[in-house]
């Protein structure tokens, strides 16, 4: 029982981080499908950075910078060249593993699993009641609260939410919604870079595919949490719990690895369908058939 809790918390941390970052873009009205690619950048390059510098902290910074760079690539081309943001986000999801392979091959002649002894192991902190975890648990909680403050208590957060509600109305106040959206994208890159680093640092290796759809799960977590900063926490825990349980059951060949891989996508799909059913009750025209329900 206790192991399930610890395991779930560990799995939850990167999901929570990615979802928090994704929430910023969501508030701005953009569906951010680049979360996966941004996490990959963080996972790969923070590990390589830590291996090259011998320091986890420096590696982390490198990882976050690489994620931000990729995000800037998307947003700058989108704003200057008027590209389609979805396709560009997809491009980022393609470029990330490509860059990871090319650079790790150049440095280490190995584009597969990277395991280096010179990467320090994560310090273990003793948390009251919930046992031993990495410093990232505290960091993710602090960031969660910080995000709450930024979104709810600062003018930037208000402008961000406004740009998600009605960008043109925001323009009439003299504020450019494109700027707030771009900033929110960069913020999501910082969070995803961090989330990816957590994955590879916790594991002690970088494995291509280490993100395994978590970028998509982060989107589901956001929607399931009601697009609300505090709904994300229980939602992320729920998914982490589900993954822990299914991992434990894999020993009985209950759910084979490939099927487990398919679950993030199916969940996201179901949530998406649910959201669109919910949104369908928008203002449409009444027809003569509608009159049968009401007594006019």
């Amino acid at each position: 029982m206790y192991n399930i809790l610890t395991s779930s918390i560990e799995i939850m941390i990167p999901l929570l981080l990615a979802a928090t970052g994704g929430l910023f873009t969501e508030m701005g009205g953009t569906l951010n499908i680049a979360l996966e690619g941004l996490m990959i950048m963080g996972a790969c390059f923070s590990y390589i950075g830590a291996a090259l510098t011998g320091s986890l902290r420096l590696g982390l910074i490198i990882g976050i910078l690489s994620s931000v760079t990729l995000a800037l690539l998307i947003t700058r081309t989108n704003r200057l060249l008027h590209t389609n943001i979805f396709i560009s986000a997809l491009a980022a999801n393609m470029l990330a593993p490509g860059l990871a392979a090319v650079i790790s091959f150049r440095l280490f002649q190995n584009k597969g699993i990277l395991t280096f002894s010179q990467v320090p192991s994560l310090p273990i902190w003793h948390y009251p009641f919930i046992g031993n975890h990495s410093p990232f648990l505290l960091i993710s909680m602090v960031l969660l609260i910080l995000s709450y403050i930024i979104i709810e208590k600062t003018p930037f957060g208000i402008h961000l939410k406004a740009s998600g509600i009605d960008g043109d109305a925001l323009r009439s106040y003299g504020i450019n919604p494109d700027n707030t959206r771009e900033i929110s994208f960069i913020i999501s890159a910082v969070f995803c870079g961090l989330a990816g680093s957590v994955l590879s640092f916790e594991l002690g290796s970088y494995i291509p595919g280490i993100t395994a759809g978590k970028g998509w799960i982060a989107l589901v977590i956001i929607y399931l949490g009601g697009r609300n900063i505090f709904g994300i926490l229980p939602s992320a825990f729920l998914f982490a719990l589900a993954e822990t349980l299914s991992n434990n059951l894999q020993g009985f060949s209950f759910l084979p690895g490939d099927i487990v891989n398919s679950l993030p996508n199916i969940f996201t799909l179901i949530v998406l369908i649910g959201v669109s059913i919910y949104n369908k009750k928008k203002t449409s025209f009444r027809t003569t058939k509608d009159n049968h329900d009401t007594h006019h």
Partner: protein, 343 residues
């Protein structure tokens, strides 16, 4: 000879610029990352032409890309973006294999039925997104992607476990009998008659889009959906037809890979073809015949990168990076002025 202004305007200058950027990127990456850049670059750009084996394989690898490109193009004409190519190709390749195997007594005829089954499977996967869109306006790009990713995992499982061929060490199904194989054109390379069918398909699609009623209706829906509705075109039915056809062609791509090259379904063997098809369709700018040179371009880069990986010290992912760069730029309204707003 005077070159008229209209002809110059028809040249895809913006597209060529983007492709040039992609080539430049590959060159730069090779120069910085490789300890023997000369050998690497020579392998990338010329390796595909070095002998008939490499050349045949290079041409052969363009065939499924042409078909996927056509599939994307059909959907784009109706203003729909099918991002589910990967799963549609992979799953239908599996279906083609299993159907042909179960009909091996019928030889080539069984393979044809298998091909159709694969096409229908691909079409159904894409068509499901059309159903969701018609009913609840769910975003087509995302649903095609997610459903397809689901089918990739399912197919992985089926090939590796349920239908795994115990006789080999490969993660693969049983092989289809040689009576069901397509004839090779340039032995010992894998180039086979599917090339002819793919080129033929380009002409068929061109005819369909511009000379038939349904093709016209699709294009009007894509051009101005309000105008289409005003003229009485049944938009919902067009959405389903467009996405089904799109998935069908992706299915054909998967089928031809099996019948022409691998003769079985191997885990992950169609990886990346869906995305290449998407790049190609975006580059081809709405012309079915332009899909052919565009596919050859990507196939050339990809096979070049693979050869460079064998002969020198760079990775094949260079081609993926070039493709990602193309994706990043190809939807730009600024670089490609006056292009049809198909995206």
């Amino acid at each position: 000879m005077r070159i008229h202004k209209e002809t110059i305007n028809k040249l895809p200058l913006g597209t060529l610029k983007i492709l040039a950027i992609a080539l430049l990127l590959i060159t730069l990456l090779t120069l910085t990352l490789s300890k023997e850049p000369g050998a690497a670059l020579s392998a990338i750009f010329f390796g595909s032409f070095s002998n008939s084996y490499s050349f045949g394989n290079f041409i052969n690898s363009s065939v499924p890309i042409i078909l996927c490109g056509l599939g994307i193009l059909i959907a784009l004409k109706a203003n729909l973006m099918n991002l589910g190519g990967e799963g549609q190709v992979y799953f239908s390749a599996f279906i083609v294999t299993m159907t042909s195997l179960s009909l091996e007594k019928l030889g080539l005829f069984g393979a044809i039925i298998g091909l159709l089954a694969g096409g229908i499977a691909g079409g159904a996967i894409a068509g499901f997104s059309a159903f969701l869109f018609n009913k609840w306006k769910t975003n087509v790009m995302i649903t095609t992607y997610l459903v397809s990713a689901f089918f990739v995992s399912i197919t992985d499982y089926l090939i590796t476990n349920t239908f795994h061929n115990p006789a080999t060490n490969l993660l693969s199904t049983k092989q289809i009998p040689s009576s069901q194989w397509l004839h090779t054109i340039l032995a010992p390379s894998a180039l086979n008659t599917s090339l002819i069918y793919a080129i033929f398909a380009c002409f068929v699609i061109r005819y369909f889009l511009y000379k038939t009623l349904t093709g016209y209706e699709m294009r009007m829906v894509g051009s101005n959906i309000q105008f289409a509705r005003y003229g009485g075109i049944h938009n919902r039915s067009i959405t389903i037809k467009a996405l089904f056809l799109s998935g069908f062609f992706h299915g054909l791509a998967g089928g031809f890979i099996v019948l022409g090259t691998y003769h079985a379904a191997l885990r992950g063997f169609t990886g990346g073809i869906g995305w290449s098809g998407l790049s190609v369709a975006l580059i081809a700018g709405g012309s079915p015949l332009a899909t052919i040179p565009a596919s050859l371009f990507f196939a050339w880069l990809q096979s070049g990168a693979t050869i460079a990986m064998q002969q020198s010290d760079v990775t094949s992912e260079l081609a993926e990076i070039a493709q990602g760069a193309v994706f990043l730029l190809i939807t730009s309204n600024v670089l490609l002025k006056g292009r049809n707003k198909n995206v």
